[in-house]
């Protein structure tokens, strides 16, 4: 891989984004890349917006993705994908969970509005009902992030092999929940 890979992930506190980030970082290390992440703790949880960055490649300095510099944006909640826009360029792929968590006292943005807004930045948008797929497939929508990551890997949206991802899942996820996550991993095609 010549160029560094820049990934931005966001969603809402409680969706398991930090765990997802750890899995990707471990997978990148297994593939012998230099890797850096940046995450936020504390006040950003409690149902607030959560945004994390991950970059891997030959040599990584900044843990943050630059404005317009993301190769892939994974959003675990549909409206939050809009917060990824300033990291997007025409080449950026948006992989968005077709799943909405309403915000108190604010009108929900529907899919049409979201698509219209994202298209100002990039045409490469993939909307997938990941939470729904996980709910049906494994009985828990909390693994939507694992599904989206697996989907990205299987479909070459991220230069990390599915094998490395599943190995990283085994390393990071506690035994109790491992089966659930590995099953989710297999749902992705």
């Amino acid at each position: 891989m010549e160029k560094n890979f820049n990934l931005f992930i966001n969603g809402v506190g409680g969706q398991g984004i930090l765990t997802l980030l750890q899995i990707i970082a471990e997978a990148a290390l297994m593939e012998r890349y230099d890797v850096k992440t940046s995450e936020l703790h504390g006040l950003s949880q409690r149902g607030g917006s959560v945004e994390v960055h991950l970059r891997f490649g030959k040599t990584i300095y900044s843990p943050l993705v630059s404005q317009g510099g993301a190769d892939l944006i994974i959003s675990l909640e549909a409206q939050e994908s809009l917060r990824g826009c300033h990291f997007a360029s025409k080449e950026t792929i948006f992989l968005v969970n077709d799943f909405f968590i309403p915000i108190p006292n604010r009108k929900i943005k529907d899919k049409k509005e979201i698509l219209k807004e994202i298209k100002k930045f990039s045409q490469k948008i993939i909307f997938i009902p990941a939470s729904e797929i996980c709910q049906k497939g494994v009985g828990a929508k909390i693994t939507a992030g694992i599904f989206l990551l697996s989907y990205a890997s299987v479909n070459n949206l991220i230069p990390l092999k599915p094998h490395a991802i599943s190995k990283a899942i085994k390393k990071v996820i506690p035994k109790k929940y491992l089966d659930l996550n590995l099953k989710t991993f297999k749902l992705a095609k």
Binding site: V12, G13, L21, Q22, A25, E26, L29, D34, V35, K36, T37, S38, E39, L40, H41, G42, L43, S44, Q45, R46, G47, G48, S49, I60, Y61, S62, P63, L64, V65, S66, Q67, G68, G69, Q79, E80, L82, R83, C85, H86, F87, A88, S89, I103, P104, N105, R106, K109, E117, F121
Partner: protein
């Protein structure tokens, strides 16, 4: 988590900046660790509370940061190696203890970790630049830029502390604390919980005048010696990126996370300007800096928040290169953290190039608030569904018209009272101040006032304020939100819980006992699920001419073993 105790030298594992600091302390053979939890420093306590026993380390969550620092000082006076951790405004609280400690110096090594939070990602009260404490306390400050350096600098800090008998500060920022990258492990020494020994020596440990001024002299002499070390040390690094011998007209001075951004920016703009990366903020390697800037036409200083480095370098330039053009805060904001594109932009301007990132071009003036543009407003944090605070709010709302009552706020989950749909917070300042300010408002205006304070905040800094309100005869209604944990920061125990930082059972200090001992006549402990009683008590207490306190006791949803 246990990977942090892995004894496999040479192996690379992924660590968070804060975890790397822990690992560095463990590799240095740390014996005694104390902290008060605060993001972005909270993992230090969270991890030690899990591994302390296995690692042979004593660990405690102290009542506040000042006490944490004093505990560490006592351990150090007794010859043990100590690590004390806190967030930036924790250091404000601890500063009273810090100043004399730097005078006294240490016996056993001591490292103080302070985590700043540019952009206030998890800080309600202020955005601070802890570098300023170098001027006030004369404490040496090291600034790592990634997790590997977090570990390496921590180890160096322990060594320096041993050599120069002085506490050393590691200053990190959110993007270092909460940055992950592979970190190379070194050997983990076998540590056994050991006892130190305090050897009487008042000449050394007591600041009583006239000795105190001699101590100041000794401190300044130590700093001179550390400065010599700083001059020679390779961790203040000059990176010559250009391969040709052609002299560059421009150079860059930076430190901490800003280094990572400027290296990225050079790559992006295909530039190879020499970079002086400073690991020491204090004492600065003056000679090294002067040598670096001597033959430059212009220099670009990349630093977050206030331009302390820039000021220093401007002063050095006056001596050695008065014509030097200094760029820095004329291109970068003093408010909020830096983003990589801000730095690329500054570098482009510095070399006279145009730069636009993506579709958005942003100019950062000195006082522009540096937050990324977004087409979608950030989702505000909320009280969890089922949070016991909802019950408290419901009761208060039934008794008073929120528009006609002043509500005091404090640091914790109840900060969220400021936001819609609750909007019941008329002031918010710092730990404990909800009572202190309530007293002042009551005394000054006599207006109706209800103030909230969390359980951990109450122990931390609320007690002196409560005593003050009682003795000086004001009458706020204080509602202590006792949810049996330090919830906002990650559910660490506090003195009311009956559990130490190492998970041992201990005496639980009852808030109501303290309230009573402070001389409060009207107080009640109520589970807010008993709405009727809660409502009646609020009504009743609001009429009192003396201080009244309701201890609202109901555990946070996430407290285990209720």
């Amino acid at each position: 988590m246990r990977e942090i105790l892995l004894n496999r030298p040479g192996k690379k594992i992924i660590l968070l900046g804060n975890e790397a600091i822990i690992r560095g302390a463990l590799e240095s053979g740390v014996n005694f660790v104390s902290t008060y939890p605060g993001t972005p420093a909270s993992e230090i306590g969270n991890v030690f509370s899990k591994i302390a026993k296995a690692a042979g380390v004593y660990f405690e969550f102290s009542t506040n940061e000042k006490v944490a620092l004093e505990a560490g000082a006592g351990a150090s006076f007794s010859g043990l190696k100590s690590l004390v951790a806190m967030k930036h405004f924790g250091l404000n609280v601890a500063s009273d203890a810090l100043m004399p400690l730097c005078y006294i110096g240490v016996e056993g090594e001591m490292v103080i970790l302070v985590a700043d939070d540019p952009s206030c990602w998890s800080s309600a009260q202020s955005e601070e630049n802890t570098r300023a404490f170098a001027y006030l306390a004369h404490i040496p400050i090291l600034e790592p830029s990634n997790p590997q350096e977090c570990k390496d600098f921590t180890k160096l800090a322990f060594k320096l502390s041993k050599k120069f008998k002085i506490p050393i500060m590691i200053r990190v920022t959110t993007r270092v604390s909460h940055q992950k990258c592979p970190v190379k492990l070194d050997k983990l020494p076998k540590i056994k919980r050991k006892l130190g020994k305090f050897i009487k020596n008042p000449e050394k440990f007591s600041t009583m005048p006239p000795r105190v001024l001699e101590m100041k002299r000794e401190l300044l002499e130590k700093i001179e010696k550390i400065k010599e070390f700083s001059e020679k040390s390779e961790i203040n690094l000059i990176e010559q990126l250009a391969t040709s011998n052609k002299r560059q007209e421009g150079g860059i001075v930076t430190s901490g996370i800003s280094y990572q951004y400027i290296m990225e920016a050079q790559k992006e703009l295909n530039l190879k300007l020499p970079v002086l990366k400073l690991a020491f903020f204090h004492p600065l390697p003056e000679k090294k800096i002067k040598k670096f800037i001597k033959n430059l036409k212009k220099v670009l200083i990349i630093e977050e928040l206030e331009g302390y480095l820039e000021k220093e370098i401007k002063a050095f330039a006056k001596d050695i290169n008065p014509k030097l053009q200094v760029f820095g805060k004329n291109l970068l904001s003093e408010i909020g953290e830096l983003h990589p594109e801000d730095v690329t932009f500054a570098l482009a301007r510095f070399v006279g190039r145009k730069y636009a990132s993506g579709d958005i071009f942003r100019y950062r003036s000195k006082y522009k608030i540096s937050t990324p543009d977004s087409v979608f407003q950030k989702r505000p944090p909320q009280l969890c569904p089922g949070c016991p605070y909802w019950l408290v709010l419901s009761a208060v709302n039934k008794v008073v018209d929120p528009k006609k009552v002043i509500f005091g706020g404090g640091i914790g989950c109840y900060m969220i009272f400021r936001l819609p749909p609750i909007e019941m917070q008329d002031y918010l300042s710092c730990m404990g101040s909800s009572i202190g300010i309530a007293h002042g408002i009551k005394k000054a205006s006599g207006q109706k006032l209800i103030t909230f304070i969390g359980d951990s905040s109450f122990f931390h800094a609320g007690i002196p304020a409560l005593i003050n309100a009682v003795v000086n005869k004001s009458n706020p209604l204080i509602i202590i939100l006792d949810n049996r944990t330090t919830a906002m920061t990650g559910h660490q125990p506090h003195p009311g819980v009956g559990k130490t930082g190492m998970g041992e059972k201990t005496r639980a200090i009852k808030i109501e006992d303290i309230v009573q001992a402070c001389g409060v006549k009207y107080f009640k402990v109520i589970d807010p699920i008993n709405q009727k009683e809660f409502i009646k008590t609020i009504k009743d207490f609001l009429k009192k001419k003396e201080v009244s306190v309701i201890v609202s006791k109901r555990p946070c949803l996430f407290v285990k073993n209720k």
